[in-house]
Each structure stands twice: as C-alpha cells, then as structure tokens.
Symmetry: C2
Subunit: 124 residues, 2 copies
Amino acid sequence: MPDEVAVKAWRELSRQYAALSCALESALQDRHQLGMSEFEVLDRLVGAQDCTGLRMQELGEQIHLSQSALSRTVARLEKDGLVERKLCASDRRGVFVHPTEAGRERHAAARPTHREVINTTLGG
Amino acid sequence: MPDEVAVKAWRELSRQYAALSCALESALQDRHQLGMSEFEVLDRLVGAQDCTGLRMQELGEQIHLSQSALSRTVARLEKDGLVERKLCASDRRGVFVHPTEAGRERHAAARPTHREVINTTLGG
DNA sequence: GCGCATTCAATGCACATGCAACTAACGTAC
DNA sequence: GTACGTTAGTTGCATGTGCATTGAATGCGC
C-alpha cells in the first residue's frame, strides 16, 4: 500500500473513532450515567450468559483497556452496585465478575442508546 | 443498517484504532521521543508549507483534540524547542504556530517510523 | 516439603485529556 | 468613547489511562 493512501486511511480511521467514541461517551453519560468503558464491560458481561460471570482476564481480551484500567473500571461498576466480584474457587488468584440485577437493568436501558448512536454516527 | 452489523463495525473500528494508536504511540516515543499527538501537530505544521505557520484554530480543525489538549500539546512542543508561537499581528487573540529547524528535523526523522507502523499494522 | 519463576489482579504514580472558568482582544451598537 | 456580546487561547481542576511495582496464589523442579 502506498504511504499516502495508508496515512489517509489512518486519518479516516482516527476521525471516525474520535467522532463515534466521543458521541457514545456523552450520550451514555448524559442519559444513563455510564462511561463508554463501563458500558462495554457491562455489555460483555450481559452478553456472556454464563451465570458465573467472566474472569478479569477474559474481559481484558475483549475490551481494549490495560489491565489496570480494566481493574478500575470494574471497581467503579462495583461501587455503583452494577457488578459483583467473586473470588474464583479453583484458582484463587482469579476474579469472576458478573452483573447484578441493577447492572442488567442499566445495561438494558442503555443498549438502545448505544445502538442508536452507532447507527446515527456511522451512517451520517 | 441492522444493529448487530453496526455494533460489529464499531468493535472492529475500535480494535483497529486501539492497535494502531497504541503501536504508533510506543514506536514514536521509543524511537523519537514524540507522543502521537505531538507528531500529528508537527506533521500538519510541516505539511502546511505556509511559512507563517498555522493558527491554533486551524490545527484544532485538523486534529481531533480538545482546545485545551491542543494548547498543552503545543506548549510541550515549544518547551522542547520543536515549535514556536507567535502572536498574530492582524488579530492579536490568534496565535501562529510554526516548526523550528529542530522541529523539522525531528519530524523528518519520525515520519518513516510513522508510515512504517501504519503500513505494518493496517496491513497485518 | 522448599524454593522459584509465573500468573492474576490491585495500587502508586505520572501524565494526557476534557470541561468549565478565565483573560485578552475584537466588533458592533449606541 | 463605552458597554456588551463574541471569539481565541490558556489554566484550574477532576478524572481516566498506562507503566511499573506489589501481593497473593499457582505450578514446577527437586
């Protein structure tokens, strides 16, 4: 790929990401008191119907966030009562995270906003 | 666009942006002591061959950064001697930013890295 | 059992970012 | 000329992030 084309692609990628992440961040915050990272975590947790929840590590593979950032995002969600952390019995270094009932409700309320903003921003 | 397709597109966008911005950030930092935002600013300044430089406002339109973040990015570049700020004579609220010789050299050294990382990451 | 490297997650710290408030300069109305 | 609204850019502050370190638990070699 010629350099100039690649750079153009990068700028376009960057532009789209900035527009969408910014729109998501403010819409989710305004309407549902959720940051984008918080929503992403909730979304993965609710999406994984395994009732025991996901390990931090599994979350980390799906969400692009450093390990420390993920740890703190989950901590914020826990403080707000949206997820719970449980020690993993078989490997006591591990931590299972699963949504609370309040977490499921908040996610259900926020999901339409998420979808709508994505459609609007990517479409327009 | 069906919701699920849009969400998939967003996740893919997010994944690509994370991979590329992360790779750029670390490569530029390691090899040229430049953050990604700093390089972007330099790149626009050198690209605009107007020898008087660009106004902060013009930079802001091209780079996706809040006004305050841009102001501080330029301040860092100035502190490192890579750009200079000059008051605009016709409108003394405005600020012209233009690269110094050192800034041009640093940019020239970093540009191949930038292009290479983009090609490698977008290609692979 | 006893070390020792490895893995998982949390925390101290530095830093870049965004928002809101602020300062300075411009332009207009009068 | 004075007052007022607007625009350009900077700064105080709170916050989210990454890197490196730490602490705990695991597994392996012996």
